[in-house]
Symmetry: C2
Subunit: 302 residues, 2 copies
C-alpha cells in the first residue's frame, strides 16, 4: 500500500535513524527485567514477550515527543519502558486461545505457544504491574511520577475497554457502525498512542499549549495508525506482516476498508496525516522526527 | 478447626463490628466502577468480580492499620479499594481454566463461568489497571499517591511471582520443600497483606517506627492467614468454605499440614499469632481492632 501524496517531493525518511531510540529503550527494559527479583521462568516469559522485536512505536513516540519540547532520551526512558510493557501485556492476553487464539506474533510463536497458557496469563499480568512499578520507582520527582501513573492508568483502562468494544461488543442498538468503529479504535489503539505523546511531553516539563498540541497530534496519528492497520490486513500477506493477515475480515470485525472501502480509507489516512502535521506547526525543528514518523506511518507496509 | 489458646480468657470478638469498614469500602468500590466510563458488559463483569462478597480482609486491614496510627476511614478508602481490586483480579485470573479451573468462588459461579473466559481475562486486566487509576487520581497529595502506587505495584508483582512459584514451580534443586512453601506464601498471599498494613499506616502519615511495627504485624498475620488457609483446606467441606475444599492436596501442592502435619501447623499458627500481637505492643488502644483481627484470623473456620 502507498499513499501517493505522502512520498512525493520529500527526501526519503531514514526510518532506522528515526526509530534509533528503540535500542536504548530495549536495553532499559532488559535491565528492568534482569534486576527485578522474579522466578526464572516468569522472567524468561516476560523477556520473551517484551524483547521479541516489534516496531516500538509507542516508546519512539514518547522519546520523540519528549525531545520535541526540550526533554532528553533519559527523561523518556521510564515511561517508554512502562508503555511498551502495557502494549506487550495487551498483545500477550489478546493472543490467548480464549481471545484471538493467535499462534504467531512478530514472526515468532505467541507466548502461550512458546510456554503455556497459565504462564502467558501471569506474564501479561506481571508486565501490567511492572509498568506501574517502573513509573513509581524510577522517576525521581514523585509529583511527575504520579502524573505519569495517572496518564498510563487511564490509557490502559481505556485500551482494555477498547478490547471489549472490539471483541465482545455491547453497543446500544442506535449506535451506527462507523461510530462503533471510531469508539473501538479511539480506545483500543488510540488511547495508548495519545498517552505516549502526552507522557513524552509531560516528562519534558512542557506547558499546557504544547501538551494540547501533542495530544492533538497523538489522537490523529493514533487513528491514522489504525486505519493503515485495517488496510494492511486486507492488502498484505501473513508472511510479510509476521502476524496473521485477513483475520479482521475473517472474524467479521468492523474495519475502515470494510465500512467505507479501500479508497475512502486511503483518503482518511491522508486527512489524518494532514491533521497530525498541522498540530505540530508551531513546534519548529525539534518536532521534525514526529513529522517524519507521521509520514512513515502513513506509508508503512507492515 | 480451633486454636485453643486463642479463645480462652478473652471476651468474644465482635466480627461484624471489627469488619464494619468493609461496607464503606464496598460502597466506594461500587461508586468507582459506576463513575468510570466503560462498556456496560465490562462494568457488569468487574462489579460481579469485585462486589460478590468475600471477607474483605485486606481493605479491613488497611482501614484498621490507618486508624491504629491516627488516620481515618476516609484516608484509607482509595488504597482499600485499590487493594481489593488487585486481590479480586488475582482470584479471577487464578480461577481460569488454564490456571486452577475453578467453577465456584465465594459460593457463586466464578466470573468465567458467569460470563466467558475472554471477559474474565479482560475484567481481571481492568481491575489491575483501575487499582492504579484509583490511587493516582483519588489521593489528593501526589507524593502520598506515588508512595501508595509504589507499595501496591511492588506487592502486586510479588504476588504474581508467588502464583508462578505456586503453580509453575521452577526452584533450583537445592531448595528444601519448607523453603519453597515459605517463598510461595510470602509472595502469593503475604505480599498483599503486608502491603495492606503498610498502606494504611502510610495514609495516616505514620512515622518510620510505626511503619516498621505494622510491617512486622502484617508479615506475621499474612503468613498465619495462609497456614490457617492450608489447615482449612484439609479440615473443612466445600459447602462450608464456599470454594472447593481439598484442592491443594488433590493438586499435590505444598502445604503446611502436608509438610509438617496438622498439629505442628496449629503450633505455627500460635507462634505467628504471638508474633503479630507482640509487634503491636507499643501502639496502645487504637491498635485493638488489629489485635482482635489477629485473634479472629487465628481461629476462623472459613
Amino acid at each position: 500500500m502507498t499513499t501517493p501524496s505522502a512520498t512525493q517531493d520529500k527526501p526519503a525518511i531514514d526510518v532506522a535513524q528515526l526509530t534509533a531510540p528503540a535500542g536504548a529503550v530495549e536495553a532499559y527494559m532488559d535491565k528492568v527485567l534482569t534486576d527485578r527479583p522474579l522466578p526464572a521462568n516468569l522472567r524468561e516469559a516476560a523477556k520473551y514477550a517484551l524483547l521479541g522485536g516489534g516496531k516500538r512505536l509507542r516508546p519512539v513516540l514518547i522519546v520523540r515527543s519528549c525531545e520535541a519540547v526540550g526533554g532528553t532520551l533519559e527523561d523518556a526512558l521510564p515511561p517508554a519502558c512502562a508503555m511498551e510493557m502495557i502494549h506487550c501485556f495487551s498483545l500477550v492476553h489478546d493472543d490467548l486461545p480464549a481471545m484471538d487464539d493467535d499462534d504467531l506474533r512478530r514472526g515468532r510463536p505467541t507466548l502461550h505457544r512458546h510456554t503455556n497458557e497459565a504462564m502467558a496469563i501471569l506474564a501479561g499480568d506481571l508486565l501490567t504491574g511492572l509498568a506501574f512499578e517502573v513509573l513509581a520507582t524510577r522517576i525521581a520527582d514523585p509529583v511527575l511520577a504520579n502524573r505519569c501513573v495517572t496518564e498510563l492508568a487511564l490509557a490502559t483502562n481505556d485500551m482494555i475497554a477498547g478490547q471489549v468494544y472490539d471483541t465482545l461488543p455491547d453497543f446500544p442498538p442506535e449506535v451506527r457502525p462507523i461510530e462503533k468503529l471510531r469508539t473501538i479504535h479511539r480506545n483500543k489503539t488510540g488511547a495508548l498512542i495519545r498517552a505516549s505523546c502526552r507522557l513524552g511531553a509531560i516528562l519534558a516539563g512542557c506547558d499546557e499549549k504544547q501538551l494540547a498540541q501533542l495530544t492533538r497530534y497523538g489522537e490523529a496519528v493514533g487513528l491514522m495508525f489504525q486505519v493503515v492497520d485495517d488496510l494492511l490486513d486486507v492488502t498484505q500477506t501473513t508472511e510479510h506482516l509476521g502476524k496473521k493477515a485477513g483475520k479482521d475480515s475473517d472474524a467479521g470485525k468492523l474495519t475502515y476498508p470494510g465500512l467505507i472501502g479501500i479508497d475512502a480509507s486511503k483518503r482518511e489516512v491522508e486527512r489524518l496525516r494532514n491533521e497530525s502535521l498541522d498540530a505540530l506547526t508551531s513546534l519548529g525543528q525539534a518536532a521534525q522526527p514526529l513529522r517524519d514518523l507521521c509520514e512513515y506511518l502513513a506509508v508503512r507496509t507492515k
